[in-house]
Symmetry: C2
Subunit: 391 residues, 2 copies
C-alpha cells in the first residue's frame, strides 16, 4: 500500500424527501445567493424544480438560474455560467441534476474564482485551488460527481472531453433522494449502473500489492451493483434497490475504493473519445470498452481477474486452469451487461471503425502509454477498439 | 433503508512517516496553540513524542502538554485538561495515542467550550454542539475514534463508563502511520482487532431490511480483519497487514458501515460494565461478550447469522439445516478469537460472577431493553453474562 491522503468532507443528506433541506444546507454551507444550474425540462416536469425553489425561498436564499446542461457537458455553457455568476455576484453554485450538471457546476464554480480561462484547468491539468462552494441535488446514480473532486467537460473548440480536479471541488453537500431516480428509463439506469461499476474497476485493477481492505470494499460494491441493478431494471420504482445503487454510486467514486494504490482509468479515457466524437451516453460507451479492455489485459496479466471472477461473480476457482476462472469472470460481466441492455459494439452506439486512428492519436497526443494495470501502447489501444468495432 | 445523513469531514493522512505533517495540519485546521495530550511513556520511548514536537516547532505552533491518559480514560484527567487548556488559552487539542487518548482529548475539547460540567455530556447524553478542533496522531488500530464523532469516558464519581457524541467531535485530521503500531504486543493488537470487528458487527446485526450496500461493506471489512489479524500476530512489523488493519479500523467506525439502519450496540454496553468494574482492555472484554451475545440471539433470530457465516467465514450454506450454517459461523468467529489469543470467559479477565446483578442493574438503570437486533431484557442480559461467567 502506498501513502495516501483521503478527504471527503461532503455532507450527505440521503433519503425520501430530502430535497426539502436544500435551502437550509445552502445557508449552512455559506450560500446567500445561488446560481441554480440544471439540464432540460425533466426537473420542471417532475416538480423537483418547484420544490427546490420553494426550499430556497423558505430560507430567504436568493438565486439566479441557468438551465440547458446537456449530457457530456460543453464548455460554452460554462462560459455563460461564469459570466452570469460574476454579474449577479453569486456565492454558491447549486447543481440540480446528474453528473453532467454537477460537472458543469464545478467548472463554473472554479471559473468564477479564476482570472484566466477556466478551460486551462482541463487542457493543462492545472489543479483547481479555489472555487465557489457547490451543492448538489442528485437525480441520477452514475457519475459519482456528488462526492468526488472531479469534473469532466467537452471542450467545444477542440472537441476533446477531459477532466479537471481539485479538493475544493468536492461538493459542500449532496442531497440524495432515490425517489428522484424512479423516472429514469431502463437504458439510462443501466448506463448509470455501468458507470458506477467501472469507477470501481478502474481502482480495482491495480498492480499495487496488499490493498486487501480496498480490494474487499471494491468487490462488495460490485456485488451490490450486480444484485441491485437487475431489480431496478425490472421495477423502476423499487425504492430499496434505487437507494442501494445511489449510495453505492457515491462510495464507488469518492475514492475510498482507490486509496493507497495506482489506478488504471484506461477504459474511461478510451470511452471519452467515443463520447466526444459521437455524444454517446458515457456508461453505454464504457459497457462497450471495459469488457474489451479486460479481454485484452487478461491474456498477459490475469492475476486480478481471478478474484474479480471468484469474489464478485461467484465463479468457482479452477485450480487446474486458473485462466479459465479469469475468463469466466469477464464473460459473466459481459453477460450481465447484455442482460441489462447495454451495448457491446461500435455499431450499437453509432461509432465508426474508420475513426479509430483519430481516437488513438488523440489519446496519445500528450502521453506515450495509456492506463496502468497494463501500460497500453498505441497498438494495444487500437486492438481494443478493433475488438468492439468488429463485434 | 432509512433516511440518514453522513458527514465524515476528517482529513486522513495515511502512511509511513506521516507524523512529520503534524505541525502543518494543525495550522491548516486553525490551531496556533495546542494542548498536546498523550498517555504514558511509550511515545517518548519510541521517539514519536520528539518527532511530533519537532514538527510543531518547525511550523511555529506553540503548545502545552498533558500526559497520563490511561486505558478506559478517566474524568479526573479531563477536568485537569480543561483547566489547563483554559488557563493557557489553547485553541486546538492534539491527541497522540490510541482511542483512550483521543476520547479524553474530545472530552477536553468539548469541555473547554462548555459553561457547565463536561460530564453532563456523558451522564445526560446531551449532544456536543461546540468543541475545539481535535487532531490525532494514531498509535493503535482499535477504537476508530480517529474518524468518529464519539467519545467514551469513565466517570470516576459513579464508576460508570459511558459515551458522548456530536458531529463537531469528528477530528479535523488524523495522521495514521502503520509503523507506529509495530511495537504493540500481540494481546493489545488482537484486542484492537476485536474492537474493530465488533464495531462492524454492531452495525451489521440489524433488522432494517435491504441495506445491501452497507451489508456487503461490513462483510468486506470483516473478511479483511479475519485475513490480516493473524498475519500481524505472526509478524508484528508486517507493514502491509498493519496498514490494512489500521485503515479498516477507521472505516469500521466512521459509520459508513452503519448508515440507513438501526444498529445494535448491546455487546458494547455489556462490555462497558466489565471495563468499568475491572478495567479490562475493551477489545478483550468484547471478545468475551460478543460471541456469547451471538449464541444467545441466534436461537430465536438466526437470519443475519447466515450471511455472517457464508460471506465472512466461508461456511457452505446448509439448505437442509440453515441453523447449522448460522451456528458454524459463530463457532468459526469464536475459534478465530481463540487463535489470536483473546479471552472467552470471566475468569480470563478477572471478572466475577457475583457482580452480574450489579452490572445488569447498571445497564437497565435508564432503559427497559438493551440492544436492537433483539431487544434484550434483564433476563437475556443475565443469561449472556452467565454463559461466559460459567465458561
Amino acid at each position: 500500500m502506498e501513502n495516501f491522503t483521503f478527504y471527503s468532507p461532503t455532507f450527505f443528506d440521503f433519503g425520501r424527501g430530502t430535497e426539502k433541506d436544500t435551502g437550509k444546507l445552502v445557508k449552512r454551507f455559506g450560500g446567500s445567493k445561488v446560481l441554480l444550474h440544471y439540464g432540460g425540462g425533466s426537473i420542471k416536469k417532475s416538480g423537483l424544480y418547484d420544490r427546490v425553489i420553494a426550499s430556497l425561498k423558505a430560507e430567504g436564499v436568493d438565486f439566479v438560474e441557468l438551465g440547458g446542461v446537456k449530457p457530456n457537458p460543453r464548455s460554452g455553457l460554462v462560459y455563460e455560467g461564469i459570466e452570469l455568476a460574476r454579474k449577479e455576484k453569486v456565492d454558491f453554485v447549486l447543481a440540480v441534476g446528474g453528473g453532467s450538471v454537477i460537472d458543469s457546476s464545478k467548472a463554473i464554480a472554479a471559473g468564477v474564482c479564476y482570472d484566466g480561462d477556466f478551460i486551462e484547468f482541463y487542457r493543462s491539468r492545472i489543479v483547481v485551488e479555489e472555487a465557489l462552494p457547490v451543492g448538489v441535488v442528485l437525480t441520477i446514480a452514475a457519475a459519482g460527481s456528488e462526492g468526488s473532486p472531479n469534473t469532466v467537460i467537452t471542450d467545444e473548440e477542440t472537441k476533446i472531453k477531459s477532466g479537471a480536479t481539485g479538493e475544493v471541488l468536492r461538493p459542500a453537500f449532496a442531497i440524495m433522494n432515490p425517489e428522484l431516480t424512479f423516472t429514469l428509463d431502463p437504458y439510462q439506469t443501466a448506463a448509470g449502473a455501468t458507470d458506477i461499476m467501472i469507477h470501481i474497476c478502474e481502482r480495482y485493477f491495480s498492480n499495487t500489492p496488499e490493498c486487501t481492505t480496498t480490494d474487499r470494499l471494491c468487490e462488495a460494491l460490485l456485488k451490490t451493483m450486480a444484485y441491485e441493478t437487475p431489480r431496478v431494471i425490472q421495477k423502476p420504482d423499487d425504492y430499496e434497490a434505487r437507494a442501494n445503487i445511489m449510495w453505492a454510486g457515491m462510495v464507488a467514486h469518492n475514492n475510498i475504493c482507490g486509496v493507497g494504490r495506482e489506478q488504471d482509468w484506461a477504459s474511461h479515457h478510451l470511452e471519452h473519445e467515443l463520447s466526444a466524437l459521437y455524444d454517446v451516453t458515457h456508461g453505454a460507451g464504457l459497457a462497450v470498452i471495459a469488457p474489451a479492455w479486460m479481454k485484452h489485459c487478461v491474456a498477459t496479466h490475469p492475476e486480478k481477474f481471478i478474484p474479480f471472477a471468484t469474489e464478485v461473480w461467484g465463479v468457482p476457482f479452477d485450480s487446474i486452469n486458473p485462466m479459465q476462472t479469469a475468463l469466466e469472470g469477464i464473460k459473466r460481466f459481459r453477460d450481465f451487461l447484455d442482460s441489462i441492455g447495454m451495448p457491446a459494439s461500435f455499431s450499437q452506439i453509432g461509432a465508426k471503425k474508420d475513426d479509430i486512428p483519430v481516437m488513438v492519436d488523440r489519446i496519445f497526443a500528450k502521453k506515450k502509454t495509456e492506463g496502468h494495470y497494463i501500460e497500453l501502447t498505441k497498438e494495444d489501444v487500437t486492438s481494443i477498439y478493433n475488438m468492439v468495432a468488429d463485434a
